[in-house]
């Protein structure tokens, strides 16, 4: 219980500290800070909109990619793959989770960004150029590259958690399905995954939380430009990158306070995301338990 209280006090302490230090910015700009796109240290006009945009879009790209690959991968490894294949693959993916963020960043800057700029982006632009999201100059360091690197970083989280959830689906369900004549693939798709839905969703939300908070890797591949552009190939800025880039040298009080305000926003967004995920997971779990009791 002591540990729990200690943890709670740390979280509350962070919240309070952020609130106090960002007060000057909130007083100056009001809630409009959240939808102002300006970031000008010279005229001391600050707004978080471009960072919120960058964080949300890069995390959205990441979770879409990671959820697809992670959940399907977990399903394959849990139910369909032969033991000899599943175990080493699983171990390798767990290893991926251990790679430090800055190493991902370096790899992203020197390998992924040039690859995107020379091979992937031109293809996407050629195929989907009619959409504004796939038009414009190719820099390599862009919102899309950041989204992809985040996806790679959170796949292990999604996969490992989904794997556990899928494995924990009662064997009776699988047996019942097979006894009714379903193929392993049909069992997976129509019985196991729907049963694991709640936990898998929770895993995705947890991974989303991680993606929103990722700093160094994103900072190295996103281009660090506080501007909102419709194109995914354009550089952008995230809530985390702006703090990492500019905090050490923010010399005016309002500048510092604005960065604290960004930190506060990030904190609140992360809390809401996690709370929403837990609530939804709990709701699904509770409803399943209710149905189970009837059996």
């Amino acid at each position: 219980m002591l540990a729990g209280l200690l943890f709670l006090s740390v979280v509350v302490g962070i919240f309070v500290e952020l609130a106090i230090k960002s007060a000057a910015a909130w007083r100056m700009f009001g809630l409009a800070f959240l939808w102002h796109a300006d970031w000008n240290p010279v005229t001391r006009s600050f707004g978080a909109l471009s960072m919120i945009y960058g964080s949300v879009v890069s995390s959205a790209i990441a979770i879409v990619l990671a959820a697809t690959v992670g959940v399907l991968g977990a399903a394959y490894l849990a139910d369909l793959a032969p033991r000899a294949v599943a175990r080493p693959l699983f171990a390798t993916i767990e290893l991926l989770a251990a790679v430090p963020s800055v190493v991902f960043g370096l790899w992203g800057l020197f390998v992924l960004a040039p690859l995107m700029r020379t091979a992937v982006d031109p293809l996407l632009r050629h195929a989907f150029g009619f959409l504004p999201a796939f038009r414009g100059t190719l820099f390599g360091t862009s919102l899309l590259t950041a989204g992809i690197i985040l996806a790679i970083m959170i796949i292990p989280t999604v996969l490992v958690l989904s794997y556990d959830v899928i494995r924990s689906v009662p064997e009776e369900l699988r047996e019942a399905s097979i006894s009714l004549g379903a193929t392993p693939w049909e069992t997976l798709w129509r019985v196991v995954l729907p049963a694991a839905r709640g936990g898998v969703f929770g895993a995705c939300v947890l991974a989303l939380g991680r993606a929103l908070g990722e700093t160094i890797a994103v900072m190295m591949v996103i281009g660090n430009k506080p501007a909102i552009a419709p194109s995914l190939f354009a550089p952008a800025y995230t809530l985390t990158s702006v703090i990492a880039n500019e905090f050490a040298e923010a010399t005016s009080a309002l500048y510092r306070s604005s960065l604290f305000a960004i930190g506060f926003t990030l904190f609140v967004v992360s809390m809401i995301t996690n709370a929403a995920g837990r609530f939804l997971t709990m709701a699904v779990w509770r409803s399943r338990r209710g149905r189970g009791d009837e059996r």
Binding site: E249, T251, S252
Partner: protein, 348 residues
């Protein structure tokens, strides 16, 4: 067996505990600008070789960061490409007392670019065109104005990507100082500071001089401003600029020296040598500054700091020359030494 292990760990702990204060006494820390970092890195290494037990640790975190850490007294000396503003000076003084600022090195900011190998080095840009590029008004390399200046070069139809600093930096300060003097639009729209809102639509930002160098090298069509030492180290193609006197020059020690020579009197309040009217003066040059407290709390340590910094501005200057910096002119070095002698150290 167990007693042996215990004794061994006890002895190790003792050694570590007793050695720690000794090693702490011999480490001087500094932080700040990335502009002089290559020079400081090489110089302090040489100092360590000469004075076996003194280790100077300099962290290149940007001019703004250097001032912050100096004010917070987490480092012995700070470094910034721009002397402190009155507000920063006030904060530092109320934190640690009187501040001494002194020039540490002289360098130039060069314009590096990334174009296909068919375009030779030494592309010509006027100062006004450079401002237009960074304002976002000229967005393609095969623009008529650029082609007119460079008739021989077959400039490709490629987007210009102006790279700037994402962190607050003195390099940015000198560069925006230059742009403000050269373009009235830049002065009113953007201004001159360590960190500004960059107007070009196609620009990207990177952290540190090293970040900008990396970004320019990685992005075809990029153009960026970096300290000369970084451009030389990374073997980047550099542009020629036409200075105020109308001569086409490249960024090199001789032209930077010529810019410094136009200002015989230098002080922490009057230090700008950009866009000066010297015959062979490189238009984007600047001194880099160090700062130290006049009366640091730890007096014995202050003596070490004083000696290191005095060595830096006098005997270490030839090391700067090997990296593309310009050794401080004699009168400036004397000024620096005089400033440093104001430090209240052991025995004074």
């Amino acid at each position: 067996m167990r007693t042996a292990l215990l004794t061994a760990s006890f002895l190790t702990a003792c050694t570590v505990l007793f050695a720690a204060p000794l090693s702490a006494a011999m480490q001087i820390t500094g932080a700040g600008a990335s502009f002089p970092y290559p020079f400081f890195s090489k110089a302090f290494y040489a100092y360590g070789q000469q004075h076996g037990d003194v280790f100077v640790n300099y962290q290149s975190i940007g001019s703004g960061g250097g001032i912050e850490q100096f004010t917070a007294k987490t480092v012995d000396f700070g470094a910034s490409d721009v002397p402190m503003t009155p507000e920063e000076l006030r904060r530092a003084s109320s934190s640690g007392g009187s501040v001494i600022q002194f020039p540490t090195t002289l360098g130039g900011i060069t314009i590096a670019y990334n174009l296909p190998a068919t375009v030779r080095g030494g592309l010509r840009l006027t100062r006004e065109l450079l401002a237009q590029i960074y304002l976002g008004r000229i967005s393609r390399w095969n623009d008529a104005q650029l082609a007119r200046l460079n008739p021989g070069a077959s400039l490709p139809d490629l987007e210009i990507v102006p790279v700037n600093r994402s962190d607050a930096s003195g390099t940015t300060y000198h560069f925006t100082d230059f742009l403000s003097r050269v373009s009235a639009e830049w002065k009113s729209r953007v201004g001159n500071a360590k960190s500004v809102q960059w107007p070009a639509a196609n620009g990207i930002a990177a952290k540190g001089n090293e970040g900008v160098a990396g970004a320019v090298k990685q992005t075809p069509g990029a153009i960026g401003y970096v300290e000369l030492a970084y451009a030389l180290e990374n073997k980047m193609t550099q542009a020629d600029l036409r200075n105020r006197s109308g001569r086409w020059l490249s960024c090199e020690p001789a032209t930077i020296k010529a810019a410094a020579a136009t200002k015989p009197t230098l002080s922490a309040t009057d230090f700008s040598i950009v866009d000066v009217a010297g015959e062979s003066a490189w238009p984007i040059s600047g001194f880099s500054w160090g700062m130290v407290y006049e009366s640091p709390a730890d007096r014995p340590r202050a003596r070490l700091v004083h000696d290191v910094l005095t060595w830096l501005v006098t005997q270490a200057q030839p090391i700067a020359a090997t990296l593309g910096y310009v050794p401080l002119p004699q009168n400036v070095a004397s000024l620096a030494v005089r400033q440093l002698d104001r430090m209240k150290v052991d025995g004074r």
